[in-house]
Every structure is written in C-alpha cells, then in structure tokens.
Subunit: 471 residues, 2 copies
C-alpha cells in the first residue's frame, strides 16, 4: 500500500474514483494474459489525459513508485504483471479516435482504444490499417504499440511498427515528448518513434499515436492446402516466395493443431494431414486471380493432398476461423496453455517444426505448432497444468531448448509477443552481452530510477545456454 | 597529428598503406557534399573487416580519439566533415555483396558498397530494392543507412529504414553487436536496427547490413503534368492520394527549377508553367493502366495545361531526367548551392511552396523548389556564392525561417538528408528540449566519451526561434 500522502496526491490529479486500492481492483490488475504469473500492485489509476499522466509521473517519480501502464493486458509475456508492485495505470479512459485525416491518410488515436474498434471505424471510411493481432477484439492499440504486435497479414504488410509514424509520450520525469508526425519521412535526430514501439512500457508512457493508413485492397481470395508431408508444406511456402508472390497471409498448422481446431470449430478438417497452409492473397482482382492460380500450381507440384479455394467471403471466413481459433481451441485441452513465438528465417520453418517435435518428445510434453509460416513466426503451444510443477518445469526446459534452436537457425526468441518477464532470461542469447548493455543504457537514459515497468525485458540473471544434443 | 604511439598501433592493425596522414589524404577527407564546411582530420584509415574495426575502436577509445566513419561523403548536412579532428574511417574496402538469399528475399552487404551497383546486381537476379536516393550512383549503402536516405520511390515503398532488417556494428569500445537478422519479425528487446538507421555515425560503426528485398513490379508508366496554377498541382497530389492511389513516384518542380533544368538538359519543357508533376506508377499491368488513366482524369480536372504520358521506357527516362537533374542543373547557376529538405504533411505542400517563395523574397535570395510532393518532402535550393558572406548570411536566415515554417505546418526540419552539423541548431525546434535530452542520453549510452562523429546531431547551442511575420 502506498503512503496516504502519495495516494492523496494521485487522487487530487485524477479524481477520487479514478484511483483505487481496494482488493477487487488490485486483484483484477495483478495478472495478464500470461499463465502462472501474478503480483499485486499497490494501486490502480485511470488517467483521462496526457496532462494528468504527466502530473502522475511527477508524483510517482518524486516518491520512486514503479508504474505499469497497460491496456487490456492480453499480452503473453507477462509484460503487464506488476511484478515489483507500484501503480498499474489503465489506459481505457483514453480511448478516442482523435482524427482520421483523409488527405494525409493518417489516424490519430489514444492508446486505450480497442484495436478492432479502430479498424472497423477506419474501414468504414474506406481505408486500411493492416496489423491484425489475434487479440485485436480485446487488445488496445496502445498495447499493440508497446508490444509491436504482428498478426496474420504481417508477411505482406508488416507489423505495428510499420504503421506508427508519430507518438506523444510521457517520460518517467513527467516531461512530454512528441516524435514524428503526419510525415512519411522524418530524420530529425534518432528515431524515437520506432524505438518506443515494442519497448513494452519500459521507456515511456504512450499517450497518443499517429498511424499510417493505406488504401484497402480491392479483392481478396482465401485457400487451404493440406499435406501429408510437412516438408511439402514448407517447400510450398518457399516456392511461393521464390516465384515472387508475397501473399497477404500464409499460415501454418501442424497435425495436433488441426485435430484440436476441428474438434473445437467443427470445420470438417482432414485429421490425417501433417500440415495445413492457409493462404490469402489480396490486391487488384486480376492480380489476385493470377497469384492464386500460380499458388495452386505450386501446391499441386508439392503434392498437397487436398486444396480448397473459398468461393465466397463466408467460405473464406470459415477457413480463416480454422486458424484464428487455434489458440482458443488449444486452451480448452488442459488447464494451462503456454504459447511462444520463436521466429526463424522463413526458409527454416520445416526444420524448426521438426526440431520442436523432437524437443517435445525429449521432454515428454505436448506441443502443438501453428503460426505465420510466411514470416517464419511460429507459435509452439504447450498444454499443461500449472498445478503440476514437475510437468511445468519440463515445459519450461523444452521452451528454453526451442529458443536455443531458433537462435541456432538464425532466428529470434520472440517475433511478436515481446520479452516481458517470460523471455527476459533468454534475451542475451539473441542480442549478446554488448546488446544487453546498450539496451540497459537506453533504458537508463529514459528512466534513470527504473520506475517504468521494472522487471521486464532485462532479467536479473540471464540463462546459461544449453549445449543442444539433437539429430 | 596523432601521437606516433597511436598511429603505430593503427598501422599494425590495417597495414602500413591503409593508414594515411599525408596532406593529400587529409585534405581529400576534410569535406563532404555540403558547401562551406571543411575541417582537417588527423588521419585517414581504410579498414578491411569488422575485426579490424573492432581493434581500431579499442585503440581510438583508449586514446580518446574521435572517429568519423564515411562512405562517399555525398551527404548534404555536413554529416561526415571531421569537425573535431581525429580519424576518418573510409569504408570503401568493405564493399562486397556477401549474399543474396533467394529463399528469404534478403541481401547481406558490406557498408562500402555503392548503392547503384548493389541495385544493379539485385535487379539482375530479378529482385527489387526500392530506396533510390539521387546520390545512388556515388553514395554507399552504409552512408544511406547512416542517413536513412530516401529517394523518388519513397511515397509508395518507404525509405532505407524500411528495408534494413539486420545490422552488424562496432560500438565505441570495440564491442561487436548484431541486431535483427533475416527476420521479418523480431521484438527481442529494443529495436536497435531502426535506431542505428539514421543515427549518422554517432552511435556505432555499421559493418554489415541485411536488407529486405521484394519482388519487382511487372510494369511501370511515367507521365508529366504541367500547371499554370501551383494550387492545381497541389490539389492533384491530394486528390490522387484521396482517390486511394499511391503512385510509385509523385515529384514536384517549381518554375525556377523548370527553367534551369530545361536549360541544362534541353528537354523542351514549357517555361511558362508554375509547376510540373512527374508521376510514375508501377505494379501489375492492369493496375498501372487503370491508375494512370484515373490520374490523367484528376490532372485534367485540376486544369493541368499539358500532359505527357511516356509511351516507351526511353521516353520515360527522358521525363525522369528532368527531375533527376534538378540539383545538378541548379548547381551550375552560381558557385554555391545550398539544398535543404524541409518536409511537411503532404496536404501542406502548396502552402509550404508559397511560404518558401515569400521567405526568399523577404531575404532577397534565389530559391528554387523541387522535391517529393507525394510525401511532402521538398528541396528548397538556394544558389549563392560562398565568398559573399552577406548574401550567404541572408540565405541562412531564410532557411531558418523555412525550417520554422515547416514545423509550424506540422512538418520537420529534415526528411531524408539528416541533421549533421547544418541542422543541429534547429533540432530542438522539432523534438523539443525533453526530446534532445533523451537523444543525448541514448548517445551517451552508446558512446560515453563522445568519440563517434562528435559535433553532429547535437548543437553546442540551439537556435532561438524567430517569431514569424507573414501572411
């Protein structure tokens, strides 16, 4: 609990009812979308403006109180668990679309806005914001920016980072900075915009964002390709790209995922397939037809056992549901679902999936894998039970080995979920000791007293690398 | 001159002939593409590998010797003038394409490679690297990365930043870091890749880059639209974008530029026009035809006085030459050419051009304006004579007011040329005092002794803002 002196100051800023330290509020903000992590904050604050946040930060800074800013907390890396106590700052009151500028093709929004609501509004105006994280119906745009969320359209359109062109943010000391703007080009000093995207609330509190919008594609076509040979699926992915087609979506599900998804969504998927690819192309109608025809050819060449091209938007939605429900379907299997996002160069996908299977077997754990094949971003997902400490330990060891395998294949420990608490011990494997040192320096430059989301990104201790035995 | 002890150590690393401190070498590296800036270094070093650079930095760091890493020095912001002496590190020996990966669509290159040579090689392989700064025939990819170079295709395809997905770099203390990789998604810690792009050699020495490549467009069409009314041209730009067409190129030249370019390149341009737009669309053939037809309609609606659509690639090249030769043509007029890159939201282009004209008149200086209309990135270019101190002073005052106008219109002081020495006094106008403070903190985290390209980006003193009197 914070001193009465501090809470009085905070209440004076936001109003009596917008600072809470009752048990209900504390418990509700003690966890996020990540399994098995919980820590009570000292208070929860709901600001309504940048000015309020600036004042709040001056108080918290003076008393050295940590602050975790968050939207819906749908992240999977423990990114918004208040592991060192302090105040959780919930951005839901700052949830407005401030402007959609049709001449400059930009949207200026507040961080607490739900991403899917923003997208719906933008699409009504005939424009397009491509990043579509699976969480978008509940996650906020501020959270998406903090984590640099990806999604199913990342291959062709990039991720959140590629669409944030301006930010307003409050620093730990309460200063307000503005970066970028309605500008497609800006090289005035270091790129603080891209630095803040994906900084997981550890550098500044994002209070406003200017997003780049683009014209929407005129047509879209969706297909499923199913394979008895996982390498056939992987070769299909490579050959599509090599033949210079970049599909909007190029998703992968392995056999365990197919089974679970079909049981959940009753889609009539063939349960004897080792891999399913969900492929979507968008663009001008002629381009879409031509690309889908060529992709069909490649799938057939690589001996896809079944091909299904959606003839209507409803049919396409049914196929998309298969992939979109993967996480939910897997989460029903057992009490605890642990999902990671190891990412490799796309040419290494089949190798990575097979390595994941080997590792799962070695540790005797259940791991299903699905994900964004086109950009090498896989989601190995373990189903387990948090109450079984011994099994959870085996899952953690398996994931450590999966991270190591992905680094070994030229990949990274996290493609779109962020480091948070969960992957902090592994960060050094990817960026090396000098990389960590530089990042710590950047952190100190923004937040010298380590008040902004402390305990995230940087681990107290890095994991030692295992020497892998495989093959 | 450096102490013999230091030069001996440097020569031991790179070999006798790759460290020079003869007058010829010093003078040749005392300036860059920027007018009126010159400063002799103490030595010039030509490393051949990352390992050598790491060793060099350990020596320079120990003796606290500044270092300016550079490619061809074609920048226009004084970014590679060794204003505080020390060693100039020339990257031309590290000029290899290490790999083009056809499966992952990436190129891995050394920094000293000439950009146009790289592009030629990549295009031979049937792939596409879009950033095309006007300097590309002489500039290096390392220089492009350091300055985050733009170009004529920025509107549709983005700038250098959008294509750099991995870097190897040597820190001031000699440590080697590796960021990103052949990965379209990577959120492992802060985005050091994008932070280093555009950091102007002040944070680290880039020794290798992994670039994202894309499939090339199948067709391209080029046209010129000429206007007696500058607002007609500006409205055309806005209406093209509003009608949801993003052209590959959308360039602008004002009347003074048209006159000079025509005199230089004998293209038969109409000299009575107030504005010319050079428009290019690429993509699938049907899309290009449809877009160009629609753009024609918009140009006609906005009362373009003359329209010319190139019917062949040769004709298109002739039209492109008009725009590409603008700088060269202007540079012939008088001994000294000062070119800036104030950038505004694209909806403000006409306002900005008229403000530039007002300001030129007020200070009685000659300023021609051309640039990338589609992304609001203008190049007001003053022709003057460095020997006429009084006139040069007036030009500088005019540019200060142009920067101020661009900020006022929601723009920035530099869209693609970088801050360097020239724009350092104005940086605070764009990013504010807290922005400068954060950037200084980042600089200190990477380079605590201020050895990497000192005197750039950060000014000893920021300019006071003028209160504008206009309208």
């Amino acid at each position: 609990m914070l001193k009465a002196e501090i809470t009085a100051k905070l209440r004076a800023i936001v109003g009596e009812k917008h600072y809470r330290d009752d048990q209900e509020a504390l418990v509700a903000h003690s966890y996020d979308g990540t399994p098995m992590l919980q820590s009570l904050p000292d208070g929860v604050i709901y600001p309504s403006s940048t000015e309020e946040i600036s004042q709040i930060m001056k108080v918290l800074s003076e008393y050295r109180v940590p602050v975790v800013s968050r939207g819906s907390g749908s992240n999977l890396c423990g990114g918004t668990v208040p592991s060192e106590g302090g105040v959780v700052m919930v951005m839901h009151r700052m949830n407005r679309i401030l402007e959609v500028d049709m001449e400059n093709l930009t949207a200026t929004v507040q961080p607490g806005l739900i991403t899917a609501e923003m997208i719906a509004h933008i699409e009504e105006l005939g424009l397009f914001y491509p990043p579509d994280p699976s969480s978008m119906k509940i996650s906020t745009i501020g959270g998406n920016i903090a984590e640099c969320s990806g999604g199913l359209r990342g291959l062709k359109y990039g991720t959140t980072k590629d669409y944030v062109i301006g930010l307003e943010a409050v620093l730990a000391n309460g200063s307000i900075i503005r970066t970028g703007g309605k500008l497609m080009k800006d090289v005035a000093g270091y790129d603080l915009t891209k630095l803040l995207v994906g900084s997981e609330g550890t550098l500044a509190i994002i209070t406003e964002a200017t997003l780049k919008l683009i014209p929407p594609p005129k047509a879209k076509k969706t297909m499923l390709a199913m394979y008895k040979d996982i390498y056939g699926a992987a070769r299909t992915v490579s050959k599509i790209i090599e033949s210079k087609i970049i599909p909007a979506t190029l998703e992968f599900m392995d056999n365990p995922t197919i089974r679970v998804v079909d049981d959940f969504a009753k889609l009539g998927l063939p349960l004897d397939m080792e891999a399913v690819l969900l492929i979507e192309q968008d663009g001008d109608p002629e381009t879409v037809e031509r690309d889908i025809a060529r992709i069909r050819e490649i799938c057939e060449l690589e001996k896809a056992d079944r091909l299904e091209v959606a003839e209507s938007r409803e049919e396409a939605d049914r196929l998309l549901t298969a992939r979109r429900s993967a996480f939910t379907a897997l989460a029903r299997l057992r009490p605890t679902t642990m999902l990671e996002d190891a990412t490799v160069p796309r040419s290494k996908i089949a190798d990575m999936v097979l390595r994941i299977n080997e590792i799962a077997k070695k540790y005797n754990v259940t791991i299903a894998t699905f994900g964004h094949a086109g950009d090498g971003n896989l989601h190995p997902t373990a189903t387990t039970d948090a109450r079984d400490k011994e099994e959870v330990h085996r899952v953690e060891e398996a994931f450590a080995e999966i991270f190591e395998a992905s680094i070994e294949l030229g990949g990274t420990i996290t493609g779109e979920h962020g480091v948070g608490i969960v992957k902090a011990p592994y960060l050094e494997w990817k960026v090396g000791a000098p990389g960590i040192e530089v990042m710590r320096g950047i952190k100190a430059a923004f937040d010298p007293h380590n008040l902004l989301n402390p305990g995230k990104v940087f681990a107290k201790e890095s994991r030692k690398r295992v020497v892998l035995q495989h093959g």
